[in-house]
């Protein structure tokens, strides 16, 4: 499959000269943390010929290969604009990172961006020469449930509350991406379900939760958690670009930690609260926008949701450089610097 495609590329009359394996990669959400750093990694990769950064924000340049374009996935002309860019840049691989890493308080906009935005992306890819689509998703989609096995494999059903826009849109995005490259077709669709990403630069609602001085937990529960380091997450994306591995992959750091140990490692104090009180507390804070942790987060503080990274290791060849513990220590050490006001940089 791969060789056929490469031959087709090298004999393409309009394509001009192209090295055998050179890829032209487009990244939606290329101005975000993952997008920017992925661009940095790809700049150094000789197998990548050009990088197209697509974002509504300004993509700060990290190298010569990057071509930045403005794209608003929530606009109605997004698909036309995407087709135009993908055609003119002759993109063959697209990494879709324009998904929220923290739930938004505006579910309508969230839906337009994630679910409808993914539709625009997939349709534009169908109309152009893109043969590989990669999506960053989350292991939180499996849902926290007491009947989960300790390690959830990719074949496991989705138990996350799909009534929540945050999960429903992620799930719909996954379904659309997977439909782009059904098994047996020449196109490849890769979904990387990432464990909560943590690291010195992470600034999502989970990082905010562990940054609090007093971390509320559920009384009598201490679920196992797993993390993936930000560098490992970027490495996994780069690996998915390099290798053709269709399907869903869990990306996680090795090992697990109980939530209490996570909070201890962060140097925080935990405050056990009965589950019903904590849900009410989070719901009221969420409605008044005083906290960015949504009410469904209580489930994850109560029950296990840990994914099995065996498939990513066997098929994708991914092995994490950081264990869960090491990733967390990296996050905590940066946090200690922030606490001591010795780290002035704004987190990406």
């Amino acid at each position: 499959m791969t060789t056929d495609n490469n031959q087709a590329l090298s004999t393409d009359p309009n394509g001009g000269f192209r090295s055998r394996n050179a890829r032209r990669v487009a990244i939606t959400g290329g101005a975000g943390f993952l997008g920017r750093n992925l661009r940095g990694v790809l700049e150094a990769d000789p197998a990548v010929e050009a990088i197209v950064s697509l974002d509504v924000r300004k993509s700060e340049p990290v190298g010569d290969k990057t071509h930045a374009y403005n794209l608003d996935l929530t606009s109605r002309s997004a698909e036309e604009r995407l087709v135009e860019v993908l055609m003119s840049e002759k993109v063959d691989t697209l990494v879709h990172l324009a998904l929220l890493s923290s739930p938004s308080s505006d579910p309508t906009w969230e839906h337009e961006l994630e679910s409808v935005g993914t539709m625009h992306v997939v349709n534009a890819c169908r109309r152009t020469r893109v043969r590989k689509l990669i999506l960053k998703s989350q292991t939180f989609l499996y849902g926290a449930h007491p009947t989960n096995p300790n390690y959830l494999s990719e074949t496991h059903g989705i138990k996350a509350p799909l009534g929540e826009a945050y999960f429903r849109d992620k799930f719909q995005s996954e379904q659309q991406i997977l439909a782009f490259g059904p098994p047996g077709s020449a196109r490849i669709a890769t979904v990387l379900r990432m464990a909560p990403i943590i690291g010195p630069h992470i600034d999502d609602y989970i990082a905010h939760y562990f940054r609090r001085r007093l971390v509320p937990t559920v009384l009598g529960f201490d679920p196992l958690w797993q993390f993936v380091h930000e560098a490992d997450a970027i490495a996994a994306l780069a690996l998915a670009i390099q290798r053709d591995a269709p399907g869903i992959f869990n990306i996680s750091g090795s090992g697990v930690l109980p939530l209490s140990a996570v909070i201890k490692l962060c140097g925080r104090t935990h405050l056990p609260v009965p589950a019903s009180v904590l849900s009410a507390m989070l719901a009221s804070l969420w409605i008044t926008r005083l906290s960015d942790a949504p009410p469904f987060f209580v489930d994850y503080l109560q029950y296990i949701c840990v994914a099995d990274g065996a498939r990513a290791k066997d098929v994708l060849g991914y092995s994490p450089a950081f264990s869960t513990r090491e990733a967390l220590i990296d996050f905590a050490s940066a946090q200690h610097l922030r606490d001591a006001k010795l780290l002035s940089e704004t987190p990406a």
Partner: protein
């Protein structure tokens, strides 16, 4: 060895004494520092002490390049060294560290200490660390696995060795003094490798798994740690789920059990499930239906021997006189037991009566002959499940015959 003179100023903080070097230097060997494992840092990212390098059995190389050498010379030397080291690593494969250190030859030892250390430091760190990080000793002692043993790290399934150690005295007390557990036939447990212990479930509150684990750890010569599988409802409960999980229990499901067995653990299952512990006192020591034979399928698929086990004494420790079935479902409990002490005494009602327990292990079953594909043959699975159940019934009958008194055994 001359005794050291006492420090001149006792008030001054005494500097750590350096090891006596003279004897070692005569033989051309540096003393090997022994680091207490606790003083090392985190994970396998720790750079090992230089004594590790001595075991790279390397013939003498040229001296380390002098400071004044030109840049080109230095670079060529480095690439030369790198390629040599690379060849060596490739040639000796992963067993590079299994080679014992060379005979105390001055030249070799010195060269091995100086030149390759430099080369190792100049190659990309991952390449140099690779054989070290994969060395089983290193991993066990200093690496992630070693850390798990010593810190509050949990294993893949949430078992926390340090948490269990905290309760060691209490478990000992229950094992020796309180239940005075008698264990028979512990030699039929596999001494190593995977195995499934199939036991009857009883006692209103699921303490029997923990007692079984303690009994095996205290009486088996290998001190194997049984991982027992608990019902779902335990994991819905606050405190209980976490407590059992940190003590080594795992939620009962095929995925978890299969994973444990593939790691060559000894797994205890209670196929009766909730039906076993919620039976009333009048039905004591009768076995409920053994699920759908999931444990047989597990044994067939993983090729593990099955050891039948009877636990006698648990039925009388918390005799259930009555059971509320519907009301407690509102609170996520499968049932609410009424015993002589519970719920009348609150949490103290959970304390079991000091009956004498006997744990009997029977002859192990080995279903290897059927092959893993037999797990899909439901008729066969049902038949084998019945066989195991009958052997447990026989063990229970034998235990009850031999028992003279509930309290004294």
């Amino acid at each position: 060895m001359t005794p050291k003179p006492p420090p001149k100023n006792p008030g001054e903080p005494q500097r750590p004494q350096r090891p006596q070097r003279s004897q070692h230097e005569n033989r051309g060997l540096r003393p090997r520092p022994t680091y207490p494992p606790d003083e090392l840092g985190i994970g396998s990212n720790v750079v090992p002490g230089e004594n590790f390098i001595t075991s790279l059995d390397v013939p003498p190389k040229r001296k380390a390049p002098a400071q004044q050498a030109s840049r080109e010379e230095l670079e060529s030397q480095i690439t030369d060294l790198e390629s040599r080291l690379d060849q060596m690593i490739r040639a000796s494969g992963p067993s590079i560290l299994a080679v014992p250190p060379a005979t105390p030859d001055t030249q070799i030892a010195r060269a091995a200490l100086e030149t390759p250390l430099k080369a190792v430091l100049e190659t990309p760190p991952f390449d140099a660390m690779h054989p070290l990080a994969n060395n089983p000793y290193f991993e066990q002692q200093w690496g992630r696995r070693g850390l798990e043993e010593r810190s509050e790290d949990v294993d893949d399934f949430g078992y926390d060795p340090s948490f269990e150690r905290k309760f060691g005295k209490l478990l000992d007390f229950f094992h020796r003094r309180y239940f005075r557990v008698r264990v028979r036939g512990v030699e039929s447990l596999p001494r190593q490798g995977r195995g499934i212990v199939v036991a009857n479930h009883s006692g209103t509150f699921p303490f029997d798994g923990l007692v079984l684990r303690t009994a095996v750890a205290r009486t088996q010569p290998e001190k194997r740690k049984v991982r027992w599988l608990t019902e779902d409802f335990v994991h819905y409960l606050p405190f209980a789920g976490v407590f059992f999980n940190r003590m080594g229990a795992v939620r009962a499901c095929q995925e978890n059990a299969e994973r444990l067995l593939k790691q060559d653990e000894l797994v205890a299952v209670f196929p009766e499930g909730v039906k076993g512990i919620k039976k009333l006192y009048e039905k004591r020591y009768t076995l409920e239906r053994f699920g759908r034979g999931g444990f047989v399928r597990l044994a067939l698929r993983t090729g593990s021997p099955l050891v039948p086990c009877a636990i006698i004494g648990a039925e009388e420790s918390n005799p259930m006189l009555h059971r509320l079935d519907y009301l407690p479902k509102l609170f996520g409990l499968p049932y609410l037991p009424i015993t002589a002490t519970f719920p009348w005494l609150g949490p103290f009602g959970l304390v079991p009566a000091p009956t004498r327990w006997t744990i009997l292990f029977g002859e192990p079953f080995n279903f290897d002959g059927y092959g893993p594909e037999a797990a899909d043959d439901l008729v066969l699975v049902g038949r084998l499940s019945d066989r195991v159940q009958r052997s447990i019934e026989e063990l229970i009958a034998q235990g009850l015959r031999e028992r003279k008194s509930v309290w004294l055994g």
